[in-house]
Amino acid sequence: MKNRSLVSITDYNKDEMLQILDLAGEFEKNPRQDLLHGSVVATLFFEPSTRTRLSFESAVNRLGGSVIGFSDSSSSSVSKGETLKDTILTVSNYSDLIVMRHPLEGSAKYASEVSPVPIINAGDGAHQHPTQTLLDMYSIRKTQGRLDNLRICMVGDLKYGRTVHSLLIAMIHFNPVFVFIAPEELKMPDEYKLLLDKNGIEYHEYKDIGDNMDDADIIYMTRVQRERFSDPLEYEKVKNVYILRNAMLGNTKPNVKVLHPLPRVNEINYDVDANPKAYYFEQALNGVFTRMAIISKILGVK
């Protein structure tokens, strides 16, 4: 993994994913390690994402490294029309690693081709966000004690939700059963179902939550966004069907955990927050340990 860019979750094989999770576990036990003393990590956020940026910057700081960069392209030379290539080449002179978030799909791959230093993709449009996937996997393993043979229920926008697609791809290594709950307009695309078929992975599809998540070990919630619907009436019909309320967790398994990539809008009611089955805030904390692990592996200090 040393010196290799992380653009897509498929850049890591099963063994490499597990190495990251193990190392994240070490950092959770001992979060202050001065491994990056003297190293500089650039965080280039061509579109704002405060949560993801702070998580990365916290990870670098805990490792004793320094951070340079920008949090919004309007305050940088990018707003003066500089190409992505020029920005990356310039910043690579000042840093050992570049973490980037960009609104255009494929931008991280292109950056990794032109950059002399490794790139970590912190989200490229609706395309990929591999560090989110690794932190989701870390959260799953931490709460369930294992990754193998779990029943994973994905709810909401399964069509455009990049987090569910990447998680699906990553979990194929661990023989899960998937339960997809989504409106017709936002159901899991065929290409992912074909991938599951090819790998002999069981999955079920439903339109309503009902009792379909009662056997789940993990409930992965996503936002259902108004702008995803071509017909606004269609959105009005489904917008309240995919809201998780505390009462709906009554018959679920005792070990189940509710995950969500955050920020939420209204898809998880606030009455769920106090339920021990809610895990989305701890999930965010796990993101720091996971990113510490990824950065350390790429910079070759672990």
Binding site: L84, L104, E105, G106
Partner: protein, 152 residues
Amino acid sequence: MEAKKELKVNAIKNGTVIDHIPSQNLFSVINILGLNNIQQQVTFGFNLESKKLGKKAIIKVADIYFKDAELNKISLVAPDAKLNIIRDYEVVEKKVVSIPDEVTAIVKCMNPKCITNHEQMVTSFEVVRKGPAALKCRYCEKITDQDHLEII
């Protein structure tokens, strides 16, 4: 009959004849092969009758023999193209084109949010299906299919 059809475009002594090009894609073929930037004589016929294509186009390029890899690039816009290699007025070889496994620099990605449509860079696709063509962008990984194929 064949001889009469052939007269519609002047015969060449040496070079390459590209026949059975869909008429609407003639200029794409010219662009892909860079025929607008060469010194040799190029003649073409446009809106010729064809049983198979309705209207077809034909191009005759004097004194140039193309590499197969180059010719295969036109398969995306002229999948039924037939090539005659001419030496001293005789057809010495006939060729057809086939879609390559990789397409670089000639097709536009149909995803408006793809980086290739915003940055000055070369597009690159993996051909995931050949007939009708489906190209997977190496950057955004979205599929551009035959119906949305646009030549740069």
